[in-house]
Protein backbone atom coordinates (compact mmCIF):
# COMPACT_ATOMS: atom_id res chain seq x y z
CA UNK A 1 0.00 0.00 0.00
CA UNK A 2 1.43 3.29 -1.03
CA UNK A 3 1.75 5.99 1.55
CA UNK A 4 -0.46 8.22 -0.58
CA UNK A 5 -2.95 7.01 -3.18
CA UNK A 6 -3.07 8.50 -6.67
CA UNK A 7 -6.28 10.51 -6.23
CA UNK A 8 -5.06 12.12 -3.04
CA UNK A 9 -1.74 12.93 -4.61
CA UNK A 10 -3.42 14.49 -7.63
CA UNK A 11 -5.56 16.69 -5.39
CA UNK A 12 -2.51 17.69 -3.33
CA UNK A 13 -0.53 18.51 -6.45
CA UNK A 14 -3.47 20.63 -7.64
CA UNK A 15 -3.52 22.57 -4.39
CA UNK A 16 0.24 23.12 -4.11
CA UNK A 17 1.45 22.87 -7.72
CA UNK A 18 4.83 24.55 -7.45
CA UNK A 19 5.97 23.28 -4.06
CA UNK A 20 5.54 19.54 -4.43
CA UNK A 21 7.55 17.15 -6.60
CA UNK A 22 6.00 15.66 -9.73
CA UNK A 23 5.98 12.05 -8.56
CA UNK A 24 4.83 10.84 -5.19
CA UNK A 25 7.50 8.86 -3.39
CA UNK A 26 6.14 5.41 -2.45
CA UNK A 27 7.27 6.01 1.12
CA UNK A 28 5.57 9.41 1.21
CA UNK A 29 6.42 12.66 -0.55
CA UNK A 30 8.87 15.09 0.99
CA UNK A 31 7.04 18.30 1.77
CA UNK A 32 8.73 21.64 2.57
CA UNK A 33 8.54 22.41 6.27
CA UNK A 34 6.69 25.70 5.80
CA UNK A 35 3.89 23.83 3.97
CA UNK A 36 3.49 21.24 6.73
CA UNK A 37 0.46 22.80 8.39
CA UNK A 38 -1.10 23.84 5.07
CA UNK A 39 -0.87 20.29 3.68
CA UNK A 40 -2.38 18.86 6.85
CA UNK A 41 -5.21 21.39 6.81
CA UNK A 42 -5.94 20.71 3.14
CA UNK A 43 -6.01 16.95 3.71
CA UNK A 44 -8.27 17.34 6.73
CA UNK A 45 -10.73 19.95 5.49
CA UNK A 46 -10.90 19.23 1.76
CA UNK A 47 -10.20 15.51 1.48
CA UNK A 48 -11.67 14.20 4.75
CA UNK A 49 -8.51 12.89 6.41
CA UNK A 50 -9.79 13.77 9.86
CA UNK A 51 -8.05 11.03 11.80
CA UNK A 52 -4.53 11.61 13.12
CA UNK A 53 -2.72 8.28 13.19
CA UNK A 54 0.87 8.94 14.16
CA UNK A 55 3.98 11.01 13.80
CA UNK A 56 7.36 9.31 13.59
CA UNK A 57 10.64 11.16 13.86
CA UNK A 58 13.99 9.60 13.00
CA UNK A 59 17.56 10.73 13.35
CA UNK A 60 19.97 10.63 10.40
CA UNK A 61 23.51 11.60 11.38
CA UNK A 62 25.48 12.82 8.38
CA UNK A 63 29.02 11.95 7.34
CA UNK A 64 30.20 15.46 8.21
CA UNK A 65 28.96 15.12 11.77
CA UNK A 66 25.82 17.22 11.45
CA UNK A 67 22.35 15.96 12.29
CA UNK A 68 19.38 15.56 10.01
CA UNK A 69 15.92 14.58 11.10
CA UNK A 70 12.99 13.20 9.22
CA UNK A 71 9.45 13.54 10.50
CA UNK A 72 6.70 11.44 8.94
CA UNK A 73 3.04 12.16 9.62
CA UNK A 74 0.23 9.72 8.87
CA UNK A 75 -3.46 10.56 8.55
CA UNK A 76 -6.40 8.31 7.88
CA UNK A 77 -9.83 8.83 6.43
CA UNK A 78 -12.59 7.41 8.67
CA UNK A 79 -15.01 6.95 5.77
CA UNK A 80 -12.49 4.69 4.02
CA UNK A 81 -10.00 3.50 6.64
CA UNK A 82 -7.80 1.59 4.21
CA UNK A 83 -6.65 4.87 2.66
CA UNK A 84 -3.82 6.62 4.45
CA UNK A 85 -2.07 9.87 3.70
CA UNK A 86 1.58 10.10 4.75
CA UNK A 87 4.18 12.71 4.04
CA UNK A 88 7.67 13.46 5.24
CA UNK A 89 9.57 16.52 6.35
CA UNK A 90 13.35 16.72 6.22
CA UNK A 91 14.87 19.13 8.69
CA UNK A 92 18.32 20.11 9.81
CA UNK A 93 20.04 20.18 13.19
CA UNK A 94 17.69 22.83 14.56
CA UNK A 95 15.08 20.01 14.74
CA UNK A 96 12.02 22.23 14.78
CA UNK A 97 8.69 21.43 13.19
CA UNK A 98 5.40 23.31 13.49
CA UNK A 99 2.88 21.45 15.61
CA UNK A 100 -0.35 19.97 14.27
CA UNK A 101 -2.04 20.19 17.66
CA UNK A 102 -4.44 23.02 16.63
CA UNK A 103 -5.73 20.79 13.80
CA UNK A 104 -5.68 17.40 15.53
CA UNK A 105 -6.05 17.06 19.29
CA UNK A 106 -4.62 13.55 18.94
CA UNK A 107 -1.26 15.04 18.05
CA UNK A 108 -0.73 16.08 21.66
CA UNK A 109 0.88 12.97 23.15
CA UNK A 110 2.23 11.69 19.84
CA UNK A 111 4.33 14.82 19.46
CA UNK A 112 5.36 14.74 23.12
CA UNK A 113 6.61 11.18 22.62
CA UNK A 114 8.71 12.12 19.59
CA UNK A 115 10.08 15.13 21.42
CA UNK A 116 11.01 12.94 24.37
CA UNK A 117 12.67 10.12 22.47
CA UNK A 118 14.13 11.82 19.38
CA UNK A 119 14.35 15.43 20.47
CA UNK A 120 12.38 17.07 17.67
CA UNK A 121 10.73 20.22 19.00
CA UNK A 122 7.21 20.92 17.81
CA UNK A 123 6.91 24.69 17.87
CA UNK A 124 3.57 25.95 19.10
CA UNK A 125 2.78 22.80 21.05
CA UNK A 126 1.05 23.94 24.26
CA UNK A 127 2.61 21.40 26.61
CA UNK A 128 5.79 19.94 25.19
CA UNK A 129 7.03 17.88 28.15
CA UNK A 130 8.62 14.46 28.31
CA UNK A 131 6.19 11.58 28.07
CA UNK A 132 8.14 8.33 28.47
CA UNK A 133 11.33 9.21 30.31
CA UNK A 134 11.54 10.74 33.79
CA UNK A 135 11.13 14.50 33.87
CA UNK A 136 14.77 15.13 34.82
CA UNK A 137 16.21 12.90 32.11
CA UNK A 138 18.97 14.29 29.94
CA UNK A 139 19.27 13.45 26.28
CA UNK A 140 16.99 11.77 23.78
CA UNK A 141 17.40 7.97 23.73
CA UNK A 142 16.38 7.21 20.14
CA UNK A 143 19.06 9.41 18.60
CA UNK A 144 21.76 7.39 16.88
CA UNK A 145 24.38 9.19 18.95
CA UNK A 146 22.80 7.88 22.16
CA UNK A 147 24.79 4.67 22.56
CA UNK A 148 23.17 2.13 24.79
CA UNK A 149 26.19 1.62 27.03
CA UNK A 150 27.48 5.15 27.45
CA UNK A 151 26.76 6.79 30.79
CA UNK A 152 23.82 9.15 30.73
CA UNK A 153 22.60 11.01 33.77
CA UNK A 154 20.67 10.59 35.93
CA UNK A 155 20.94 6.86 35.57
CA UNK A 156 24.24 5.67 34.14
Amino acid sequence: MAALDADTWAALRGAFPSALPIDADPSGPVVPVDLHVAVARFLKESLGFTMYVTVVASHWPQADGSDRFEVATVLRRPSNPSVTAAWRLQIGPEAEVPTLFPLFAGADWQEREQFDLVGVRFTGHPDLRRLMMPEDWEGHPLRKSYAIDTPHPPWR
Partner: protein
Amino acid sequence: MAVDESGRPYAHPLYDTLDHFPGLSLATTSLDRLLSWSATNSLWIFPMATSCCAIEFMTSAANRVDIDQMGAVIRPTPRHCDVMVVAGTITVKMAPRVKKLWEQMPEPKWCIAMGSCAISGDFYRDIYSVIPGIDTVVPVDVYIPGCPPNADQVLVGLKRLQEKVELHRRGLVPARDGRPEHDKMIDPAIGRVTDADRDASTTEQQLAASRDLGLGGNSRRASDTPSSRQGGVDEEAT
Protein backbone atom coordinates in the same frame (compact mmCIF):
# COMPACT_ATOMS: atom_id res chain seq x y z
CA MET B 1 -10.43 -50.09 64.54
CA ALA B 2 -7.70 -47.83 65.80
CA VAL B 3 -6.02 -45.58 63.29
CA ASP B 4 -2.28 -45.25 63.50
CA GLU B 5 -1.65 -41.56 62.91
CA SER B 6 2.10 -41.62 63.38
CA GLY B 7 2.79 -42.34 59.75
CA ARG B 8 0.06 -40.27 58.25
CA PRO B 9 1.13 -38.68 54.97
CA TYR B 10 -1.02 -35.60 55.31
CA ALA B 11 0.48 -33.06 57.70
CA HIS B 12 -1.83 -30.15 57.95
CA PRO B 13 -0.13 -27.32 59.88
CA LEU B 14 -2.99 -27.24 62.35
CA TYR B 15 -2.26 -30.85 63.39
CA ASP B 16 0.99 -29.70 64.93
CA THR B 17 -0.51 -26.79 66.78
CA LEU B 18 -3.49 -28.55 68.35
CA ASP B 19 -3.61 -30.84 71.32
CA HIS B 20 -6.16 -33.60 70.95
CA PHE B 21 -8.16 -35.07 73.75
CA PRO B 22 -9.44 -38.56 73.02
CA GLY B 23 -13.18 -38.69 73.15
CA LEU B 24 -13.62 -34.95 73.33
CA SER B 25 -14.39 -32.56 70.50
CA LEU B 26 -12.08 -30.03 72.09
CA ALA B 27 -8.60 -28.79 71.40
CA THR B 28 -6.29 -26.30 73.05
CA THR B 29 -3.39 -24.36 71.63
CA SER B 30 -1.52 -21.21 72.44
CA LEU B 31 -2.88 -18.02 70.97
CA ASP B 32 0.51 -17.21 69.55
CA ARG B 33 0.69 -20.42 67.58
CA LEU B 34 -2.80 -19.91 66.29
CA LEU B 35 -1.99 -16.38 65.18
CA SER B 36 1.20 -17.59 63.58
CA TRP B 37 -0.65 -20.26 61.70
CA SER B 38 -3.28 -17.83 60.50
CA ALA B 39 -0.67 -15.26 59.47
CA THR B 40 1.11 -17.72 57.21
CA ASN B 41 -2.13 -18.77 55.61
CA SER B 42 -3.64 -15.41 54.88
CA LEU B 43 -0.94 -13.71 52.81
CA TRP B 44 -2.73 -11.09 50.78
CA ILE B 45 -0.90 -10.19 47.64
CA PHE B 46 -0.43 -6.79 46.06
CA PRO B 47 0.48 -7.45 42.40
CA MET B 48 3.11 -4.97 41.26
CA ALA B 49 2.63 -6.26 37.76
CA THR B 50 4.47 -4.35 35.05
CA SER B 51 4.92 -6.79 32.18
CA CYS B 52 4.58 -10.33 30.89
CA CYS B 53 5.25 -12.09 34.21
CA ALA B 54 1.95 -10.57 35.28
CA ILE B 55 0.13 -12.82 32.80
CA GLU B 56 1.80 -15.87 34.29
CA PHE B 57 0.97 -14.58 37.74
CA MET B 58 -2.70 -14.41 36.75
CA THR B 59 -2.63 -18.09 35.85
CA SER B 60 -1.32 -18.90 39.31
CA ALA B 61 -4.55 -17.48 40.64
CA ALA B 62 -6.61 -19.50 38.16
CA ASN B 63 -8.02 -22.90 38.90
CA ARG B 64 -5.15 -25.19 37.90
CA VAL B 65 -2.71 -23.99 40.54
CA ASP B 66 -4.98 -21.73 42.55
CA ILE B 67 -2.94 -19.91 45.18
CA ASP B 68 -6.27 -19.19 46.89
CA GLN B 69 -5.86 -22.62 48.47
CA MET B 70 -3.15 -21.06 50.66
CA GLY B 71 -5.28 -18.10 51.56
CA ALA B 72 -3.37 -15.87 49.17
CA VAL B 73 -5.88 -13.31 47.97
CA ILE B 74 -4.90 -10.82 45.29
CA ARG B 75 -5.99 -7.30 46.18
CA PRO B 76 -5.16 -4.37 43.92
CA THR B 77 -4.43 -1.99 46.75
CA PRO B 78 -1.28 -1.76 48.89
CA ARG B 79 -3.14 -0.91 52.08
CA HIS B 80 -4.79 -4.31 52.45
CA CYS B 81 -1.83 -6.47 51.58
CA ASP B 82 1.05 -8.30 53.21
CA VAL B 83 3.06 -9.32 50.16
CA MET B 84 4.13 -7.32 47.15
CA VAL B 85 4.82 -9.48 44.11
CA VAL B 86 6.99 -7.57 41.65
CA ALA B 87 6.26 -9.23 38.32
CA GLY B 88 8.10 -7.57 35.49
CA THR B 89 10.75 -5.11 34.42
CA ILE B 90 11.12 -2.03 36.59
CA THR B 91 12.31 1.12 34.87
CA VAL B 92 14.00 4.12 36.42
CA LYS B 93 10.76 6.05 36.12
CA MET B 94 8.74 3.25 37.74
CA ALA B 95 11.12 2.59 40.63
CA PRO B 96 10.08 5.58 42.81
CA ARG B 97 6.44 4.62 42.27
CA VAL B 98 7.15 1.05 43.38
CA LYS B 99 8.92 2.40 46.44
CA LYS B 100 5.99 4.65 47.24
CA LEU B 101 3.49 1.80 47.00
CA TRP B 102 5.77 -0.38 49.12
CA GLU B 103 5.82 2.30 51.81
CA GLN B 104 2.04 2.42 51.79
CA MET B 105 1.79 -1.25 52.77
CA PRO B 106 1.30 -1.87 56.50
CA GLU B 107 3.90 -3.79 58.50
CA PRO B 108 4.69 -6.66 58.58
CA LYS B 109 5.22 -6.91 54.84
CA TRP B 110 7.18 -9.04 52.45
CA CYS B 111 8.34 -8.75 48.88
CA ILE B 112 8.64 -11.42 46.18
CA ALA B 113 10.70 -10.76 43.06
CA MET B 114 9.06 -12.79 40.31
CA GLY B 115 10.93 -13.46 37.09
CA SER B 116 14.42 -12.66 35.94
CA CYS B 117 13.65 -9.02 35.09
CA ALA B 118 12.52 -8.24 38.61
CA ILE B 119 15.45 -10.21 39.99
CA SER B 120 18.29 -8.72 37.96
CA GLY B 121 16.96 -6.77 34.98
CA ASP B 122 18.03 -9.72 32.83
CA PHE B 123 18.63 -8.80 29.19
CA TYR B 124 17.14 -5.35 29.65
CA ARG B 125 19.73 -4.72 32.30
CA ASP B 126 22.13 -2.83 30.02
CA ILE B 127 19.40 -0.53 28.74
CA TYR B 128 19.65 3.05 29.91
CA SER B 129 16.25 3.11 31.58
CA VAL B 130 16.06 -0.24 33.43
CA ILE B 131 17.13 -0.81 37.02
CA PRO B 132 19.24 -3.92 37.74
CA GLY B 133 16.78 -5.78 39.92
CA ILE B 134 14.04 -4.72 42.29
CA ASP B 135 16.24 -5.54 45.28
CA THR B 136 18.07 -2.28 44.67
CA VAL B 137 14.81 -0.52 45.52
CA VAL B 138 12.96 -2.58 48.13
CA PRO B 139 14.19 -5.49 50.27
CA VAL B 140 13.28 -8.81 48.66
CA ASP B 141 12.44 -11.89 50.71
CA VAL B 142 11.86 -14.52 48.05
CA TYR B 143 13.12 -14.78 44.48
CA ILE B 144 11.11 -16.79 41.97
CA PRO B 145 13.42 -17.45 39.02
CA GLY B 146 12.20 -18.00 35.49
CA CYS B 147 11.38 -16.12 32.34
CA PRO B 148 8.58 -16.22 33.15
CA PRO B 149 8.29 -18.63 36.07
CA ASN B 150 5.30 -20.87 35.60
CA ALA B 151 2.39 -20.97 37.97
CA ASP B 152 3.75 -23.93 39.93
CA GLN B 153 6.92 -21.99 40.66
CA VAL B 154 4.84 -19.12 42.01
CA LEU B 155 3.23 -21.63 44.35
CA VAL B 156 6.67 -22.88 45.45
CA GLY B 157 7.79 -19.30 46.05
CA LEU B 158 4.75 -18.65 48.19
CA LYS B 159 5.50 -21.83 50.16
CA ARG B 160 9.01 -20.54 50.75
CA LEU B 161 7.59 -17.23 51.93
CA GLN B 162 5.27 -19.06 54.32
CA GLU B 163 8.30 -20.76 55.86
CA LYS B 164 9.96 -17.42 56.36
CA VAL B 165 6.85 -15.88 57.87
CA GLU B 166 6.52 -18.83 60.23
CA LEU B 167 10.13 -18.39 61.39
CA HIS B 168 9.61 -14.67 61.71
CA ARG B 169 6.54 -15.20 63.90
CA ARG B 170 8.54 -17.52 66.17
CA GLY B 171 11.11 -14.80 66.68
CA LEU B 172 13.75 -16.51 64.55
CA VAL B 173 15.63 -14.80 61.77
CA PRO B 174 15.33 -16.67 58.50
CA ALA B 175 18.29 -16.90 56.14
CA ARG B 176 18.24 -14.25 53.50
CA ASP B 177 17.64 -15.62 50.05
CA GLY B 178 20.21 -14.75 47.43
CA ARG B 179 19.62 -13.95 43.83
CA PRO B 180 19.36 -17.23 41.94
CA GLU B 181 22.26 -18.09 39.70
CA HIS B 182 21.49 -17.10 36.17
CA ASP B 183 22.20 -20.44 34.53
CA LYS B 184 19.54 -22.03 36.70
CA MET B 185 16.89 -19.44 36.08
CA ILE B 186 16.79 -19.09 32.32
CA ASP B 187 16.62 -21.02 29.12
CA PRO B 188 20.30 -21.64 28.28
CA ALA B 189 19.55 -21.40 24.56
CA ILE B 190 18.96 -17.67 24.95
CA GLY B 191 22.07 -15.60 25.48
CA ARG B 192 21.61 -13.32 28.44
CA VAL B 193 23.62 -10.92 30.51
CA THR B 194 24.99 -12.55 33.62
CA ASP B 195 27.00 -11.08 36.44
CA ALA B 196 29.96 -13.21 35.42
CA ASP B 197 29.94 -11.81 31.87
CA ARG B 198 30.02 -8.25 32.99
CA ASP B 199 32.80 -5.96 33.97
CA ALA B 200 32.49 -5.82 37.75
CA SER B 201 33.09 -2.08 37.77
CA THR B 202 30.11 -1.58 35.45
CA THR B 203 27.88 -3.51 37.81
CA GLU B 204 29.25 -1.59 40.76
CA GLN B 205 28.66 1.70 38.95
CA GLN B 206 25.12 0.68 38.06
CA LEU B 207 24.29 -0.37 41.59
CA ALA B 208 25.85 2.81 42.96
CA ALA B 209 23.65 4.82 40.62
CA SER B 210 20.68 2.83 41.89
CA ARG B 211 21.60 3.72 45.46
CA ASP B 212 21.93 7.36 44.40
CA LEU B 213 18.25 7.32 43.54
CA GLY B 214 17.82 7.29 47.30
CA LEU B 215 15.43 4.38 47.30
CA GLY B 216 17.12 1.98 49.72
CA GLY B 217 16.76 -1.73 49.02
CA ASN B 218 19.04 -4.63 49.84
CA SER B 219 22.10 -2.64 48.70
CA ARG B 220 23.74 -5.69 47.26
CA ARG B 221 27.37 -5.32 46.27
CA ALA B 222 28.80 -6.49 42.99
CA SER B 223 31.52 -8.39 44.83
CA ASP B 224 28.92 -10.70 46.36
CA THR B 225 29.19 -14.05 44.70
CA PRO B 226 26.12 -16.25 44.42
CA SER B 227 27.68 -18.83 46.73
CA SER B 228 28.37 -16.30 49.46
CA ARG B 229 24.81 -15.08 49.23
CA GLN B 230 23.18 -18.48 49.55
CA GLY B 231 22.23 -20.17 52.76
CA GLY B 232 23.27 -19.57 56.33
CA VAL B 233 21.45 -17.63 58.99
CA ASP B 234 21.76 -13.94 58.40
CA GLU B 235 22.84 -11.72 61.26
CA GLU B 236 20.57 -8.91 60.20
CA ALA B 237 16.93 -9.03 61.19
CA THR B 238 14.56 -8.97 58.27
